[in-house]
Structure formats: C-alpha cells, structure tokens
C-alpha cells in the first residue's frame, strides 16, 4: 500500500495489523523519551488547505516521534486565491524531496487526485465531506479497546451525516470489522441516496434516536457527530433547540444508555447542541481517549507507509 486515501483501501486484516502497531505506538506515549528512529531521514509534509488544530497537531507529533522531518504547510486558499492549480501547488512542494504528504482539503476527492500527480505517499487527512480515514481508524481502535471486539457490536452514529466525512469513513471501517451500524439523523441531514447506499453497504438508518437507544437493549456504542453549521447553506432544521430535542445526546438520553456504553465524538463539540455537557464529560465518554488513540494510529499509519519493507512496513 502506497497511500491511505480511503478506509476502502484496507482489508479487515490490514486494519488489525495497523491496530497492533498502534498499540505498540501507544506504549511510546508513556515513555519518558517519546522517540523512535523508524522514519529518520524521511520528510513528511502536512499540507492543510483547511483549518485544523487537532488533526494537524496529531500528524505533526506522530511524524516527529517517529523521527521524520515534519513540515507544516498552511495552504489554505493558496491554489485558488493566487490562481495556481492544485496540481502545480502540490508538485511544487513535492519537488523538494517529500516522502509523505498528509493532505487536508475542503474538496471531496482532492487527496485521490493529488495521489495521481505525485510520487510521495499520500495520507488523506480529510477531504471535503468525503472521507477521513485516520479518524475512522482511531474511532474503531478506541472502541475495540473498550469493547474487546467490534464483531457483532451495535454502533449508533448520530447527527449531521450529510456533511460528515467521519461518518463516511466510519461506515466502511466499522462494518468491515463486523459491527452492526445504525445511522440516525433528520431526513434533511441524511445523505442523498442513502437508501440504496445503506442496502449495499449493510447499515441501517433511522430518524428516531430514542427508538434506537431503547430498542433491543440499545447500542453498544454511540458516536455523536458535530453539527457542521458552517457548511449549512440551507434550512436543514428549524432551530438548535429542535435539533437538540430530536437528536442531541441529552442528559435524559444519557440516562437511558448503560454506564458502560462508550460515547465518541470526533470534536470539536458543540456542547448543548448535539451533546450535553453531562454526556461529553461522563465517565463513559471516550473523547479524550480518541485523541491519544489518534496519535497512536497516525504513528502506525506513517510507519506502515513510510518505514519500508526492512522496517516491517506494508508492501
């Protein structure tokens, strides 16, 4: 595997192999000297065409702890505001001897397109509303550590599905690992064509969060998604209050969940909108664990893509 553009690039075995490496990387986080020599002499560029704090920092630290030379390029608007094409922009950067290119772009498909132009390994750090594969991997890794296995487990993904790349990657990752997934949203925030898509991909849909939380003993994990108000150009729901009543993980709904049901959120959270503070800060919330898992998973991804055969990388 040369690139990580989509969860679809990974078999279940490859995902588990990444998780095994991530577990080793997790141990590094507890060391006094958090440094491995695996990527010494390699150059990784984090090229972010869109604002990001947590993902960029996570990739930056991951690369540095693996001893890569890491450079951050804030490329927001550069290709369009200065008139340069995306192809010219990335070719210019890669001409400097880059081994790995971590790219975030507000346009769906951008990482795939870039991978066709450059020689470097490309990691998709989020492309528009399409995919965010390392987020899905860290979510699944976190839940697997909590639940033991995802095989046969029921995960509810709740919120703004239309605009969520996290959801699109998680659907693939969780179902590939054997989980049963129900996605919950008002009809206006369901992606177009979700009926045919869910039938083909093997997940369920619901407009009724309370029904999903109560039916068949409730889900084994709940993944709340951020309401992406900045992407909303139309009337997707009448008011924040109505959204919270229908789809927020409120204190009342938290009480319905068992105390051992992990609550995930990719962040940043809109407290009081899609998730109540009580739920965000509950003992069963794994939000901060997702962050540390993310670092371990991203170290594993960079290691497998860039360390090469002699270092045990994936072919």
């Amino acid at each position: 595997m040369k690139h990580l553009l989509s969860v679809d690039d990974l078999s279940a075995d490859a995902i588990q192999q990444l998780f095994e490496t991530a577990a080793d990387m997790h141990d590094v986080q507890r060391r006094e000297v958090k440094k491995l020599p695996a990527l010494r002499g390699r150059t990784v560029v984090n090229m972010f065409f869109e604002d990001s704090t947590r993902t960029r920092s996570s990739f930056e630290i991951a690369g540095k702890w693996l001893s890569a030379d890491v450079i951050n390029v804030s490329a927001k608007g550069s290709s369009t505001s200065k008139g340069e094409s995306l192809r010219d922009t990335v070719l210019t950067v890669c001409a400097m001897g880059v081994d790995g290119l971590v790219i975030r772009h507000p346009a769906s498909g951008a990482a795939l397109q870039v991978s066709e132009w450059v020689d470097a390994s490309v990691v998709n750090a989020g492309d528009g509303t399409h995919e965010h594969p390392t987020q899905a991997l860290l979510d699944a890794y976190t839940l697997q550590r909590r639940l033991g296995s995802l095989e046969g487990r029921h995960v509810a993904i709740v919120g703004d599905l239309t605009h969520s790349r996290v959801f699109r990657s998680n659907i693939q990752c969780l179902t590939r690992l054997g989980a049963r997934v129900t996605v919950v949203a008002p009809p206006t925030l369901m992606p177009s064509g979700v009926g045919a898509w869910s039938a083909a991909a093997g997940f369920d849909t619901s407009y009724d969060l309370d029904d999903v939380l109560r039916r068949d003993g409730g889900p084994d994990a709940v993944m709340m998604l951020r309401v992406q108000r900045e992407r909303m150009t139309g009337a997707y729901f009448p008011s924040p209050r109505e959204y919270t009543v229908g789809y927020g993980l409120t204190r009342d709904r938290l009480a319905v969940l068992g105390p051992d049901v992990p609550i995930c959120h990719p962040g940043p959270m809109n407290r009081g909108l899609e998730i109540a503070a009580d739920a965000a800060d509950a003992a069963q919330s794994v939000v901060l664990e997702q962050v540390s898992s993310g670092l371990a998973v991203r170290m594993a991804v960079l290691y497998h893509l860039l360390a090469g055969e002699s270092e045990g990388g994936m072919a």
Binding site: S85, L86, S108, G109, A110, Q113, S192, G193
Partner: protein, 429 residues
Amino acid sequence: MSLVIEGASLLGEGTTDLYVDDHGMLVDSAPAGAERIDAAGLVALPGLVDLHTHLREPGREDAETILTGSRAAALGGYTAVLAMANTTPVTDTAEAATRVWELGREAGLVHVQPVGAVTRGLGGEELAELGLMHRSRAGVTVFSDDGRCVHDARVMRRALEYVKAFGGVVSQHSQDPSLAGPAACCHEGELSGRLGLPGWPGIAEEVIVARDVMLARHTGSRVHVAHVSTAGSVDVLRWAKARAERDGTWSVTAEVTPHHLLLTTDLLAGYDPTYKVNPPLRPQEDVDALREALADGTIDAVATDHAPHARHDKEHAFVDAAFGMVGLETALAVVRTALPQLSWPDVARVMSATPARIAGLADQGRPLTPGSPAHVVLVEPDAALTVDRDASASLSRNNPWHGRSLTSRVVHTVYAGRVTVRDGALVDA
C-alpha cells in the same frame, strides 16, 4: 472554385452527384473545370449546425479562439456554430456581438453566429441590449446567459416579451440556484452521497423548465431549453410541446448534448474533472429518456456545449475545477454511437435542419438540392474512430472521449462551396 462531389449517398439513400458553382451554390449540372471529391461510400448531409458552442474569445484565448474553434467545428462537420455569450467581456452589446461575428468571418471556416446575453454582464437583473444586438450586422436572434440561469421569473418574463418584437428566442440554462447550490457539481443521488460531492438534483432543472414553458405560454414567446439532462424535464417538454402546438402562439424547443446521450454519472467515481459538466452527467435512466426524446422529436436538436478549458483550469480539486468538455469534433460520432438506430434523415434533422431553424439561419440546414448554399458534410458511416485528444484542432484537451471507440467519421466538410476539411484534415492547416 466549383466542385463536384461524386457518388455520395444522399442522407444514406441512393447515390448521387452534387454540383457546386463558383458562388458556393448547389446547382443541377457539373460546372466546367470543377474540383472533384470522390464520395463513394460516404453519406452526404447538410452541414451541421451547433446551437451551443463556447469559443472563449474574447477573454480566454489560451483555451480557444474563434479561429481554433472554427477549425474544430469544421473537422466535426459543422458549417455554423452559435457562440455563447459568456466571454470576457460578455457579449451583451451590439459592438461585442459584431466583433464575434467579424472574427468568425475572418476565420472563414464556419458561420459563427453570436449569441447575445439575456442580461447585462450575465448579472440576471437588467436586460442586455437585446434589440441593438439584433439590429447589428451580427443579427442576433438567440439570447442566453448560459452558464447561469435567468432565475428571476420577472426578468425571464420581460426577456421573453421583449424578444417577441423581432422573433428572438431565449435559450435558458435551467438551474434553480436555490435547489442546486453554488458548488453543485454532481448529480444528486447515491453516488453524490457516497462521494461527498455537492448534489445537483434533477428537480433544480425541472422546476425552471416547467416555469419557463409557462412563461413562454403566458407571453406568447419562444423559449429554448439548453442542454436538457433529466427524464423529468422530458416529461415537462412533452406536455409543453403538445400544448404549444395546439395553441399555435408560442413555442418551446430543446437541445441535448452528445455527452448526456452517452455518458453517465458513474464516471465521477474517480473525481476526474474531465467529466465535470453543467448540468452534470446523469444516471442511465435519464440517458435512456433523453435518447427516446431525441428520437421521437420531444427534444429537437443535438447541441455540443463545446466548452474548452486550459489544462490548468481542470487541474483543481473536482469541486473547484471548471465545468465543461470539448465536443465539436466528436459530436456526430457520439450521436451515431449512442443512437445507432437513428436514420440519416433524422441525424440531419436534429443536427442541422432544426438547429438552423431555431437559430433563424436561413441558409443553413437546407436540403442538398440545387438552389441551396453548398454546406455539406460527408461521413464514412461505419468507420471505427478511436479518439485522440492530442489530434484535436481545439486549443484545449478536456476531452472525455480520449481513447474511446466511436462509430462514424467526418471525411469532408464543405462550407459555402469551399472544402474546409478533406480526407479528415483541415484544408487550411
């Protein structure tokens, strides 16, 4: 120079010779000393007429010029093209329209007929100088803000009323901007949902088509629907044409592009901006409806929406890349490939006679009989054509047909008695 075209199959039927005099007119006997073209095995059609071409001049001469676009048109068998108004500056004045018309005459390979903008600067608010453009030497009769929809119903109504004075027609880019947002670039459906691409729903086209046919009926005017792309629009058109024919006081016509007759939205799965067009490629059921509508006359014409772009304008992320694909050189072959059952008289109807009638080009699209101007295309009907984008006369390479096999090949094109393409090559090259 006079010309004899020997042994052509006229509209695919029988064999005949065509005679062209020194004035570029078809005549009934062979002029002395005429140049000869051996057309045995070739089908003769009236020169093709394109209702919808983007020539990019003025403003983006790096992507196409009126000369290079004319060359591409001639290679595609065209003898007339309508040059859309969304140039820089916009063709919204008599002077701008006349300039395009003059540059077309200087190129001399096809008749270049400017389309005037409906609204000033394509702004959608104030009417452009519709009457002055019509009165100019360019004689503009077709008006369009193509690339943008005249979405304000009041402005559209006034435009339809105004052009009645001189028999003009408004060609509408049907796209309700409140239903297909500013970033809309992929047919809204399962694929757009999975790919995370902003959806361009068919209903955004259909509501404008429905509104405009009602406005045309209300005003007693002529509306032309550009690049129809959905089965729902076809349903509306079928109803509207029946009503218009019964009323006899207004009319609605429509065009479909070659690419909407053959390509489907599945091609967007790899995010290749070559396939980014506006309106977007649609699913197979829409393609089937468009083919049926073209065959039964609900859709009147094939128009290329030839949209050349410089390479760097396509080398962006999909949502940021320019809309459009080239199509002049391949249109006939694509239509033949998509609709092999279409008879040659029907091909001539939808690609020549009817477009000429809609555009008001009296000397184009006429039967190849003595007394008509000699605008002729000669086609090798069963030739297998493998498209090579680098062999194009267009300045741009955004060609979705590259490497594909298509049926039929334009061998010779004659414009006003002058051979512009001989044996598949430009005569001026």
